[in-house]
Homo-oligomer: 338 residues x 2
């Protein structure tokens, strides 16, 4: 059973796989695995459904049994999940150490049946389908009272942490709330207002970091970005929870992602990237002050020892210089029509 352990020095939780010792040569970065990854067998491809655990959700383009060809998008459990949804949440003590069972889920959304069709090449309909499926899975997972946080994300490219090429997103459901976005509830407690709402108000006054203003969403570079060319897609109206998106918002978000993912790929010379959804905890009582947002992080640098040691990210690109470049790239993508 996987385990979460509390790091007493860093005051964070770490997910530790207890029962298998991955040898150094088993890691995706090992040379032989790098070579294997670019070729050969892909468990996410159409026709290989029997090599993955049975699907949890599916969108089909042709009638057929579950786990057979004819699908457009599949949601499957991660075969190497760090979490298992069994039993109750129990915190254990071992002397001064704290840990808990890795209660939770880890799902993979295979975004297309085609091996080489990437996120930034999807048509609007496919991105819209993906967003709807992510919201659907979010709502399903939030129904389990043991789940406290749902983390949706994507790794694209080896230096963004991807181990498989075939385009996919992931959903991890956790039994605890990380303190990573603790600034939001803390700001609310101190000021009685939402941090991101206040932030947008300030950004509108002098829009040097603003990339785009839509009806429901804006795109901006944050004031203190950890990563070069990091940007956020933020709901304009206060909205705590990703799972509460309306159909109109989902449609606009899909359209923005359709253009903006092309802009990031073209404008930044085809970078590896992550997207991550930051949202309010679930099953945790009221969560005022949280405001969900979609973060896009190009991975142009590898985190060095400074980040490992001090947590201080060294960002060589000021967001006031990144925003105009991303704005221009977005305009180009929009003008390219399609």
């Amino acid at each position: 059973m996987p385990e979460l352990r509390y790091d007493l020095v860093k005051k964070t939780w770490v997910s530790v796989a207890g029962d298998r010792a991955l040898r150094p040569n088993d890691f995706p970065l090992a040379r032989k695995n790098l070579e294997a990854a670019v070729s050969l067998f892909c468990p996410f491809c159409e026709g290989n459904e029997q090599y993955t655990p049975p699907e949890l959700a599916v969108r089909r383009n042709a009638p057929g049994e579950p786990n057979t060809p004819g699908w457009d998008l599949r949601v499957i459990p991660n075969k190497y999940a760090a979490f298992e949804l069994t039993g109750e949440f129990v915190e254990q003590r071992n002397g001064m150490y704290r840990s808990c069972t890795g209660l939770g889920t880890h799902e993979v959304v295979v975004e297309s049946a085609q091996h080489d069709l990437e996120f930034h090449q999807f048509d609007r309909a496919r991105i819209h389908m993906l967003i709807k499926v992510l919201v659907e899975r979010y709502r399903v997972l939030a129904q389990d009272p043991r789940i406290r946080y749902i983390q949706i994300y994507k790794n694209r490219g080896m230096v963004a942490g991807a181990s498989l090429e075939h385009s996919h997103s992931q959903i991890v459901a956790l039994p605890l709330v990380t303190r990573e976005n603790q600034g939001m509830p803390d700001y609310y407690e101190a000021n009685g207002r939402c941090l991101l709402c206040d932030m947008m108000e300030q950004e509108f006054k002098r829009p040097e970091r603003l990339i785009f203003e839509g009806e429901h969403f804006i795109i901006m570079c944050p004031f203190a970005p950890r990563f070069p060319y990091e940007s956020w897609i933020v709901p304009r109206d206060h909205a705590e929870n990703f799972g509460d998106m309306t159909p109109g918002e989902m449609e606009e978000l899909s359209s923005l992602l359709y253009h903006y993912s092309r802009a990031v790929i073209d404008g930044l010379s085809n970078p590896a990237f992550n997207y991550v959804v930051n949202t309010a905890p679930v099953n945790s009582g009221p969560t005022p002050g949280y405001h969900w947002y979609w973060e896009i992080v190009p991975r142009l640098l590898i985190e060095s020892a400074v980040e490992v040691a001090s947590g201080i990210h060294m960002n060589p690109v000021a967001p006031e210089l990144a925003a105009p470049m991303l704005r221009e790239a977005l305009l180009a993508a929009m003008n390219a029509g399609v």
Copy 2:
């Protein structure tokens, strides 16, 4: 002037270079730079002293002027420093945003004149010389009252964040104390005892994560390691500050690093790695509860979106399985004699 900005959501500081826009193709990961890095010109090589800023400290093996050939080890300012030691520490406000000038220093220790001699290939004398120079620079930097934290570290290999091959360490002196190791003072405040002293006491009782016991230092895998095969070299006796090491401790640490760096390279199939020195703040009043330690982090995985988003590291190797492997590799390195 570089700048530190406060990330209101993550509640951490970010170093942002304000005045230059690194274009996507300027980053070390860009294909053309990867190719360039493996060949061509190296500013750290003997004979190229004029391509670096003037040296701050040096160990010579032949008499000669500063910044001329005949040296064994050089300390130079980082040409692309994120910090500058000028003026006073001033915190600025811009509406809700906080920032401060990037007051501090960023030094590079070129560990050898030879381009292809790596840390794990150094003889004992060279490692001893390096440790003594690190302690010396630490003590010099700590004399400036504007400096609050001194971060010593090394990036070895591209996936550990290195952009130059030639073996070097780095020293960043910061105007503020990061909260990354806040668990140590917090534990002291809650328990009136040192976290690491208590931790070692517990580890000795059931030494499943212990790798080595020396006279002054132990080597262990921590209970909640963020990285696979992460290990710590910890002073056995309570010692807050890296700069307070005695000559006897420096000698033992050098000898341990001599063997253990070989063990990590051989035992883990030549991984990229970081070392980082965790230590107490300086010029910050009493710092009880801090206990310095030398952390060695093989970089076998690239941090994925889960770490970026939630701060929860996913470690596929339990420290109870990593420790025996590292123990065996260390024994082999020690038995190889040399």
